[in-house]
Amino acid sequence: MLDFDAGKYAPYVWPAYALTAVIFTGLIADSLARARRWKRAVAAREQPAQEAPPN
């Protein structure tokens, strides 16, 4: 069975897991936000060129 008891070491174990969760969440959120932001920027900058009437 799962045992979440960390005994007297809880003040060291849980902050380490919390910090790991925070760093992973931050890296995932930042990576996805960057990708979304620049994908949209490309789409927005490509659109006017496509909609412009031919010379």
Partner: protein
């Protein structure tokens, strides 16, 4: 491989499915690893701090592995001018800094109850701190130079210089008398730990590696789009 590195379209097509696939693999391995982690019994010497080893060691391995990727991408970008390689180097640095920070922080949280100190200036800890400073230096240099081509060259040279530190980190526990213990998984005679600890450790190490692979691809894709957006903006302005 070279075609993928030199051809952004091929890279984007391949990474469009590789990034989410690796992300899903990382999630499954991560949950499996955590399950093995919390069914493992407390160690007869370390007690429940053994849980710290399962997240500290993979972070420490990844801090080195990501730097190898950063160095290789920098070399290919510098020598062969492969556009994806340059983007890959830029994309790897923040991830490497994150893993190295985790290795230092979780190591410190293990050190306090086990060694009686948060930090010692021994060869392993100091060389990992130097590795972290190389990552931060890379990121600082990148943002300090406005000309992107110059910034990439300068950062690539800095990354290659930093490669010297990797064998120092790895062999520090052999070359010097350190408080940090020596290798206990990859060593002559096999791993010095029972399967109850080896399984969660290796499962979480694979999860960290897959997570890095997925996030690296996502960030390289973002970098390719960023460059494309800048080219389009310049074209529109001209």
């Amino acid at each position: 491989m070279i075609a993928i590195l030199t051809n952004p379209q091929r890279f984007m097509a391949l990474s469009a499915w590789a990034a989410p696939t690796l992300g899903a693999i990382a999630a499954v391995l991560g949950l499996t690893g955590l399950w093995f982690d919390f069914i493992a019994p407390p160690d007869y010497q370390q007690g429940y701090t053994v849980h710290l080893m399962f997240i500290h060691v993979p972070a420490a391995w990844l801090s080195l592995f990501v730097y190898v990727c950063l160095g290789a991408a920098s070399f290919i970008g510098l020598v062969f001018r492969a556009p994806i390689a340059d983007a890959a180097a830029r994309a790897a640095a923040p991830l490497g800094a994150g893993f190295t920070f985790l290795a230092l922080a979780t190591g410190s949280l293990w050190g306090r109850p086990m060694w009686g100190t948060w930090w010692v200036w021994d060869a392993r800890l100091t060389s990992v701190l130097v590795l972290f400073l190389f990552y931060l230096g890379y990121l600082a240099l990148q943002s300090a130079i406005d000309d992107e081509a110059k910034a990439s060259r300068a950062c690539a040279i800095l990354a290659l210089v930093g490669l010297i530190n990797l064998p120092i980190v790895h062999f520090s526990v052999v070359w010097w008398n350190t408080l940090h213990q020596g290798a206990s998984v990859f060593r002559a005679g096999g791993p010095a730990m029972p399967p109850a600890y080896l399984v969660p450790l290796l499962t979480l190490a694979l999860a960290y590696t897959a997570a890095f692979g997925s996030l690296w691809l996502v960030r390289i894709r973002a970098e390719v789009w960023r460059r494309r957006a800048n080219v389009l903006a310049l074209r529109a302005a001209g």
